[in-house]
Symmetry: C2
Subunit: 204 residues, 2 copies
């Protein structure tokens, strides 16, 4: 018989992580060798235990799942990464795939299904939740240029133009122009609605 798949579980919600560990541990061919509650901790655990598959939550303190995946890609090329997320936004999926993530599923799947997906990913295949994939495709690519996205992000917390200009080392007029074009491209009423839209689509 082949050895069981060694898993790393990372999620900041102890309740979920523990429950998941217990359920996945019931499968004969899966074994949880490490758990982590934050991004940095996940990295440390991965280095120490060298799992076959890392199951990462997208939103974690310290470093999010995609960042961790990026680091793992170079440090442990043999370790496949599977991202699990509560509310998946189209842009996140794109970023995740770009980071070399092999699987991307919402938390609405059952544990049974997750176990299957883990096996799929471990076998070298990819798995992306069909619904999330459809969202990502229909949402399309971000129409924003990098500067537009950057300025929009700085505008996210409601800061006035002058402050954004300072933080971006741009002239206030330029900031307003970028903001204006971003708002137009997104079809929003104003920059704040634009920020919301961009966030929803995962473009910031």
């Amino acid at each position: 018989m082949t050895a069981a798949v060694r898993l790393l579980l990372a999620d900041d919600e102890h309740l979920i992580r523990g429950a998941l560990a217990a359920l996945l541990g019931l499968e004969d061919d899966l074994v949880v060798v490490a758990e982590a509650a934050s991004g940095p901790e996940a990295l440390a655990m991965a280095r120490a235990h060298r799992p076959d598959v890392a199951v990462l939550d997208l939103q974690m303190p310290g470093a999010d799942g995609v960042k961790v995946a990026t680091s793992l890609r170079t440090e442990l090329p043999g370790c496949q990464v599977l991202i699990v997320t509560g509310h998946g936004r189209p842009g996140h999926l794109k970023r995740a795939l770009a980071a070399g993530v092999r699987g991307f599923v919402p938390k609405t799947v059952s544990a049974q299904r997750l176990a299957e997906i883990i096996r799929t990913v471990h076998a070298g295949h990819r798995y992306v939740d069909p619904e999330l994939a459809a969202d990502a495709i229909s949402a399309g690519d971000s129409p924003l240029t990098s500067r537009e996205a950057e300025v929009l992000e700085l505008a996210a917390d409601g800061a006035p133009v002058t402050e954004i200009a300072e933080r971006a080392a741009l002239s206030p007029g330029t900031v307003r122009n970028y903001l204006s074009s971003a708002v137009t491209k997104l079809g929003a009423e104003n920059r704040h609605a634009a920020v919301r839209l961009a966030r929803e689509r995962g473009w910031v």
Copy 2:
């Protein structure tokens, strides 16, 4: 021996709900009699199965945990409500307690601990996570009047004043006055930052 505590589990994330059901089911004195993935479904399940304790996620499609709790309070007075939440904001705790919720815990607790808390709540006691309680106390009460909060909420999606005025059936000038006073009270830079602050503190 006494009969086992009958539980209703409601959470839109199947992964968590299933895992939780499995883990809590392992306890001798707990039995999961119903599961739901949305607010309305939770209500229907509660009516059908009349559980002793309802374990509700705070954020669910349809109706959030607090709304469900309010309905349950009148329909099934014998059913104690325990709210579980990912990221607890101070105001939510306050609203929950006002709705007659008996327990309020973050998802960072372990399943073991949750089982104990369920027993505590079923025994007629209350339980609030110490950390969340501290946050709620230090954050204090909302300084906003009801109209200020209402207008601020309508401003949340970045709508212009005229639109807010329309939706609130107020004059645009009045809206600006309320917004202005809310911004002042919260010590924010502008209304959008104010919305963020109020959200963080759970005041909207």
